[in-house]
Amino acid sequence: MYFAATIAILLTMSLALARALLGPTVFDRVLAVNMFGTKTVLLLSVIAFLYGRPDFLDLALAYALINFIGVLAVLKFVQDYMLRHQDTDL
């Protein structure tokens, strides 16, 4: 049954990747990165149990803690960008 969950997660990952490659706006791609991050947390947790080594949940924990820093950095980047080039789009 772990397999069913893993397959669902992997399929969702490929959908997110499709969104990342298709765009069209840059924010769609950031959204895809964020989705992919959550899916990676899930995948790592499920596979840790699939392998029977639940002590490896540290990895999923690390991603759960720091994965959103990238999106915050994007917010700051966009904020500074808009201040600097007020006329152009990203």
């Binding site: 392998y51 080594r53 002590d55 490896f56």
Partner: protein
């Protein structure tokens, strides 16, 4: 599944050459650095693929487990340090690109070369 036994190495070859392509054919310096990270990742993949043993598990010895197979720890040690060294060298490269951009106003290689010739 026998024919998939070399799949990791094929992916390694393709990634390696994609990274190389980005480095040699793109004029943008940041794009070159991104190509370098892909190249690096391909090498990491090669090493980590070699550590896998059928029926093995990560080389953290479990108390009480008898006759447990473990994957090869040596490539893992080499790649673990290489990842952090990779980010350090990447940041050095980015710093150089930033300085180039401040001096020349561009990060396109051909434009920089043109300015140098003038």
């Amino acid at each position: 599944m026998e024919f998939l036994g070399l799949y990791n190495y094929w992916v390694f070859a393709i990634l390696l050459m994609m990274g190389l392509y980005a480095v040699i054919s793109r004029a943008n310096l940041i794009k070159k650095l991104l190509g370098m990270t892909i190249f690096q990742a391909a090498v990491f993949l090669l090493y980590i693929s070699m550590d896998k043993v059928d029926g093995g598990t990560a080389p953290i010895i479990q108390a009480g487990a008898v006759d447990q197979l473990y994957s090869n720890p040596l490539p893992q040690v080499l790649i673990l340090t290489a990842i952090v060294v990779g980010i350090a060298t990447l940041s050095l490269g980015l710093a150089i690109v930033v300085r180039i951009s401040e001096t020349y106003g561009t990060i396109e290689e051909d434009e920089i070369r043109k300015m140098d010739e003038e």
